[in-house]
């Protein structure tokens, strides 16, 4: 009996952590949070940051860490440059994408490439504060003292096949993105952490040029 109760407690506590995230509680006033998020995003015209990305392979007990630089500029322009341990450049400019891996360059229309379309949408939504309006996801918002956690659960078919959930952690101070956690169906996840953020830094338009 004692064992059964213990097992039940473990199971229940597991559900609580899964449902609410350790250290976080559900945001009580969601409309207010949304309004603050949108207002802060309105004031954000550009973001310059460094990033560290960890791909965690759960069953292999392995982690692949990569580092790079990130730029965002309104409207809908993102440049991501991976420098370590490989070179990879991705530019998203409205509905166009440019990728350079090694010496190979490719241009893609995000309209015709579903994967780029989805990456584009997630990135731009995160930066422009429109994450909560993305109808491809069911959203829940949690908070602790310093951060808010926006949990995105895919409802759209394409997204459902790629991700179990995407959690976006934002800093409550300026609503800038602290990290993006992508949980795959396989149990593996990728966490992208942004550091040395400069909000509204002067970023030349040429950084997003797709020739």
């Amino acid at each position: 009996m004692r064992k059964t109760i213990l097992l039940l407690l473990v199971l229940v506590s597991g559900f609580i952590v899964k449902g609410q995230y350790a250290g976080y509680t559900a945001v009580a006033d969601l409309p207010k949070f949304k309004a603050s998020f949108a207002a802060a995003a309105q004031k954000t015209n550009s973001i310059k940051a460094d990033f560290i990305q960890d791909k965690n392979l759960s069953m292999l007990s392995e982690k692949i860490t990569s580092k790079g630089n990130f730029w965002f500029k309104k409207d809908s322009r993102v440049r991501m440059e991976y420098n370590q341990p490989f070179k990879y450049l991705m530019i998203l400019n409205k509905d166009k994408a440019y990728v350079k891996d090694g010496a190979k360059e490719s241009k893609v229309s995000t309209k015709s490439n579903k994967m780029f379309q989805q990456i584009n949408k997630i990135m731009i939504d995160c930066m422009q504060g429109t994450t909560l309006d993305n109808t491809d996801f069911k959203t829940r918002v949690f908070e602790n003292k310093t951060n808010a956690l926006v949990e995105l659960t895919p409802v759209a078919k394409g997204m459902k096949e790629m991700f179990k959930s995407i959690n976006v952690i934002v800093d409550k101070k300026d609503f800038s993105v602290v990290s993006i956690q992508m949980q795959e169906l396989s149990g593996d996840n990728t966490i992208m952490r942004f550091t040395n953020k400069e909000i509204n830094a002067a970023i030349p338009d040429t950084l997003f040029d797709i020739k």
Binding site: L60, I64, P85, K104, E184
Partner: protein, 214 residues
């Protein structure tokens, strides 16, 4: 128009086949001489993947794909291969057991086709060199190269060394008549190749791996 059409159709349908047969019968296969050599010599080329990360490019029928391939030897001696794009999204996760058993842990929907999985499985089995049964090996030579031939369920795996057996020149997967895949493993460091190339000969499908530090 009509008198020209039939011969043209016959020609246009038969000529590529005839050329294909002529080109695909590797002359080196025909001219090979039987030889005596120990297939154990290949063991030193068997990659010793403890954990290795490769920058990976895949070119298939005009499409280009890139990402990272992590290869890890697991405690149960199986080898796991996990391929994901640079942003971390997983393409596939395969397991190769030493006894030849193969398992797909995950694969993205677009790649989840029997023919794609089989092709990738056979390509990677060729480079893993798990099933080199000496008792079944046939050894031949031609033009200064030694061919170690291992019959598979379908076709053959060829491991081709120089005469002294200290260099793995290339590997091939072949049917009775033609080469299907050619592969190379170069610049071994502590038993792990720095570069791996897999090139299909019957359609455009090339995989390039360049080792990077984790």
């Amino acid at each position: 128009m009509r008198p020209f059409r039939t011969p043209y159709l016959i020609l246009s349908s038969c000529l590529p086949i005839a050329i294909g047969i002529l080109l695909s019968c590797s002359p080196s296969y025909k001219q090979m001489q039987s030889a005596a050599a120990d297939a154990d010599v290949l063991q030193k080329f068997k990659p010793n993947f403890t954990v290795a990360l490769y920058n990976t490019t895949v070119d298939v029928m005009g499409n280009h794909l890139s990402g990272l391939l992590l290869i890890k030897k697991m405690p149960d001696s199986s080898t796991r291969m996990v391929f994901s794009n640079e942003m971390g999204f997983g393409f596939f996760d395969f397991e190769f057991k030493p006894d030849g058993e193969f398992k797909v842990y995950s694969i993205m929907k677009k790649l989840n086709k029997k023919s794609v999985i089989k092709t990738l499985q056979h390509d990677f089995e060729l480079i893993l060199m798990n099933n080199l049964d000496n008792s079944k090996a046939v050894v031949k030579t031609n033009e200064g190269l030694t061919y170690f031939i291992f019959p598979q369920t379908k076709g053959y795996n060829y491991y081709i060394t120089n005469q002294s057996g200290d260099e793995l020149v290339r590997m091939e997967r072949a049917s009775n008549k033609k080469i299907i895949v050619e592969s190379v493993m170069k610049k071994y460091q502590n038993g792990v190749p720095d570069s791996i190339g897999i090139s299909h000969k019957t359609f455009e499908f090339n995989i390039g791996l360049k080792r990077i530090e984790k």
